[in-house]
């Protein structure tokens, strides 16, 4: 267990270990971006394509282990430990989804969409939504939640309206006979989930944490908010690009892993913030 020292003493909050991890995660995420470029380009054999796929999967596993490891170190009896476990489970769910996707697509040569992978991708949304709502609720005795809730809900209604007009009504619903029930369901869930399960709680969390000012307990949650924005934008943009028949972008595709990387970094920052000094 951590040993106590005076709160607010002038020791640096973010440790050298965390800074080193952030640098390593950033470097690995850049390599993954390069690998996604390989996936987007025409490929000549299984090796570079497979390496690119599996590099991303191994990176996902590392990020999941880091995030869940932090939750365990914070302590699963603590409310904050349970919240970080939910964040870790979100990263783990995406990781399993990616591995299943890779096996179906790369090794079995089947269409991975929709597939078992989507069950795990969906679980990421559920766990992250759960974590953010639980984090928001934790502050109910300290800051008002009603106004942040109303503002976030207003953004949610606007976002769903945009998704409906630009994506659902334009592309997805008219193609329902071709994509089938599950295809339509999954295609509808992702963009709507990006708004309802990611953007809305992220906006509300941001408005709640904003009330802490520079208070360090809010630092990791700002990174979680950033991660949710990146995930929502990357995923919604991917859906639009895919349905509108626009060309691929490795930068956009790297949004998912950047989102996971931010969650892992948030957990590392949380570990430092929660450390007694």
């Amino acid at each position: 267990m951590n040993t106590a020292a005076p709160a607010g003493s002038k020791t640096r909050v973010i440790s050298n270990t965390t800074i080193a991890w952030i640098a390593a995660i950033a470097a690995l995420t850049l390599v993954n971006w390069y690998c996604l470029g390989i996936v987007e380009e025409e490929f000549t054999g299984i090796l570079p394509y497979g390496v690119a796929y599996w590099f991303g999967n191994v990176l996902d596993v590392l990020l999941a282990v880091l995030t869940i490891g932090t939750a365990i170190r914070v302590g699963l009896r603590e409310n904050v430990g349970k919240i970080w476990l939910l964040v870790g489970l979100a990263v783990a769910a995406y990781t399993v989804g990616d591995i299943v996707f890779t096996i179906i697509d790369l090794h079995l040569g089947q269409d991975p969409y929709p597939s078992l992978a989507d069950v795990f991708y969906t679980l990421e949304y559920v766990f992250l939504f759960w974590a953010m709502m639980r984090a928001i609720r934790s502050y109910r005795a300290l800051v008002p939640l009603t106004t942040p809730g109303i503002i976030a809900a207003a953004f949610g209604v606007l976002g769903v309206a945009i998704i409906y007009t630009q994506l659902l009504a334009t592309y997805i619903f008219p193609s329902a006979s071709e994509t089938g029930f599950w295809g339509t369901l999954v295609s509808t869930f992702y963009p709507v989930g990006d708004i309802v399960l990611m953007l809305v709680p992220a906006i509300m969390l941001a408005l709640v944490i904003r009330q802490l000012g520079a208070g360090r307990l809010g630092w990791p949650w700002w990174i979680v908010v950033a991660s949710s924005f990146v995930l929502a934008v990357a995923d919604a943009a991917y859906s639009y690009r895919d349905w509108a028949g626009l060309p691929g972008s490795s930068l956009l595709d790297s949004g998912w892993v950047v989102s996971l990387a931010l969650l892992a970094i948030a957990s590392l920052v949380a570990r430092d913030v929660y450390r007694s000094r």
């Binding site: 267990m1 951590n2 106590a4 020292a5 005076p6 709160a7 607010g8 003493s9 002038k10 914070v74 302590g75 603590e78 409310n79 904050v80 430990g81 609720r137 934790s138 502050y139 005795a141 300290l142 800051v143 009330q211 802490l212 000012g213 520079a214 208070g215 360090r216 307990l217 809010g218 929660y274 007694s276 000094r277």
Partner: protein, 85 residues
Amino acid sequence: MALISAKGSFVATFRDHVVSTLAPYVGQAVADTCVRATALSLGKTTDTLATDDFPILENNVRRLLGPVAPSNVIADLLHTIERGS
């Protein structure tokens, strides 16, 4: 009575000492909330809070910060408040 803040400088009142201890973690506004909640439960104003009110403050800090911070951090903050008072 002069108190020593978490940053090592002298502060005027118990209220200031508590706020300066909690603020680096939860921000000024939430730190004020913790102090106000304690004063309210005692039927006092924040400026008339005294070191004798520490047990009630401790209960309030544990109740309010318990969901958002691990117990080691809360114990650490309370220790700093108590030591400074």
